[in-house]
């Protein structure tokens, strides 16, 4: 279809539009149409943008991970794990609680570098396949997931099944003879610390770039 406006001049004066003045190119009809659309767009964005930001806000908000007392230093040894309950989400009662398996750092078993945050090893019960709760089976000295058969060894490394990385851990510290559990962190095959990732997200190789860390949850800086 040929553009019939092509042949016309862009000046309203040349097009003999009543009330046109010198140098005017935008007709009043076009101007009114554009302003009505702009006003409508501004009005719609005034409620759409805040609502979307409201729904997306939690992605960018860092969640507080306070240190929690879990017991006296002498409750834990190097031979086996002791289950402890901590709160990982506030205000939801039982649904916000999670079990953590704890033992003392054992230089004969643990090869990762020693620092102030790993006098005690605290393993999360969150399976790194899809997040079901694993349990420690003392006879097998293994962590076993009931959902899809993930198996982890004594250090929480993957022994078999679908999990993509070792069990998450928590920072621990000792204050006045009491053991405290701090923020969560994820580990790769070498038990290096990474900002927490969700289950099913590998951290070896390109994994840490394919599954970037999120602003909502971070490991402690410089650890």
């Amino acid at each position: 279809m040929p553009d019939r406006h092509k042949t016309k001049s862009k000046y309203t004066v040349d097009r003999r539009i009543p009330g046109a003045f010198e140098g005017e190119t935008v007709t009043r009809r076009r101007f009114m149409t554009a302003s009505a659309h702009t006003a409508g767009g501004v009005a719609a964005m005034a409620f759409v943008l805040p609502s979307v930001a409201f729904a997306l806000g939690p992605i960018f908000e860092e969640q507080e991970q306070p240190w929690q007392d879990v017991g006296a230093v002498d409750e834990f040894d190097t031979a086996t794990y002791v289950p402890k309950t901590i709160t990982i989400a506030k205000g939801v009662g039982e649904a916000g609680k999670s079990t953590v398996y704890m033992r003392k750092f054992d230089p004969a078993v643990d090869k990762e570098p020693k620092d102030e945050y790993n006098d005690f090893i605290a393993l999360s019960t969150r399976c790194m396949h899809l997040g079901c709760p694993v349990r420690f089976v003392p006879a097998a000295e293994r962590f076993i997931c009931p959902c899809h058969g993930g198996v982890y060894n004594f250090r929480g490394e993957v022994d078999g099944g679908p999990p993509v990385r070792p069990l998450d851990r928590f920072y621990t510290r000792v204050r006045n003879g009491r053991v405290e559990i701090g923020p969560r962190f994820s580990v790769n095959r070498e038990i290096q610390r990474f900002s927490p990732r969700d289950p099913g997200e590998p951290l070896d190789g390109v994994g840490q770039y394919l599954y970037p860390s999120r602003p909502s949850i971070r490991k402690l800086p410089n650890t």
Partner: protein, 266 residues
């Protein structure tokens, strides 16, 4: 005059109303009452011209060979309507409170509310019925070749409706807030998280944070009962409009009459 003729009451003939004289057009209250329905419809139609649209929608020509398989679409729609109605009434008793109120309110619906278990059961089992009907309807469309030109856009809308139905199933599964709901949702959200690059942010969005927290349940509830149903209702409207606009297809085993044959018949 209305066509409706009521039987004469068993009273003495003298008391019966006299029959109308030929040529008289007097209408009694009975005649007005008999035409009340038509008058009301007329009143609305005169102001909206809606009868044309209703006729266009309902009295369509359908091709030869149309059969029971063609009712799967309406069956799906009625499954949706059933979910919508039972869902609205479940919302009268449900409380999206992750600290225990949600589970307690579902227990209350099932054990205390009159017909509560029935309405909850309709909604729970109806969701599976709807998913099954969606797939049967989709299979009918596929095997009858009804997705082809000019109906591709309707297929695309249908796929969007399928995805929204799945999203409804996913968000609705959490609401009873028992062990099964909770862990199924943890697993489902983590499956979302395994998408490269966007996955971690998507699961943060679904949970409203890095952990399953206080607002996760209300977020799922809002998505389940407000966001998706609205989108689905609008898309079902578009889907139906296009069915009426384009008409339905004949089954593939019906051969179109060739012009020669048509002449022979005539």
């Amino acid at each position: 005059m209305p066509k409706l003729k009521l039987p004469a009451p068993p009273i003495p003939a003298k008391l019966n109303p006299r029959p109308a004289r030929p040529g008289s057009t007097k209408t009694g209250p009975l005649d007005v009452a008999a035409e009340a329905g038509i008058s009301a419809v007329d009143w609305v139609d005169e102001r909206t011209s809606i009868s044309g649209a209703a006729r266009w929608m309902m009295f369509r020509k359908v091709p030869k060979g149309t059969n029971w398989f063609y009712t799967l679409g309406s069956s799906t729609m009625f499954a949706f309507l059933s979910q919508a109605v039972t869902g609205v009434f479940l919302a009268m008793y449900y409380r999206p409170d992750a600290a225990g109120g949600a589970y307690e309110s579902i227990r209350y619906i099932n054990n205390e509310v009159f017909l509560g278990e029935f309405v909850h059961g309709m909604h729970k089992w109806g969701s599976s019925v709807m998913v099954i009907l969606v797939f049967l309807h989709m299979a009918r469309t596929f095997f009858f070749g009804a997705y082809k030109y000019p109906r591709e856009l309707n297929w695309v809308i249908g796929v969007a409706l399928l995805i929204l139905t799945m999203a409804m199933s996913f968000t609705g599964y959490l609401l009873p807030f028992d062990q099964r709901s909770y862990w199924a949702t943890i697993v489902g959200v983590n499956i979302n998280g395994t998408g490269p690059l966007v996955g971690p942010y998507l699961s943060d969005f679904l949970r409203a944070g890095p952990e399953f927290g206080a607002t996760t349940l209300s977020r799922f509830y809002a998505i389940h009962m407000l966001l998706i149903p609205g989108a689905m209702a609008a898309l079902i409207g578009a889907h139906l409009y296009m069915v009426a606009k384009l008409g339905t297809t004949a089954p593939p085993w019906i051969k179109a009459d060739s012009p020669v044959k048509k002449e022979e018949k005539a």
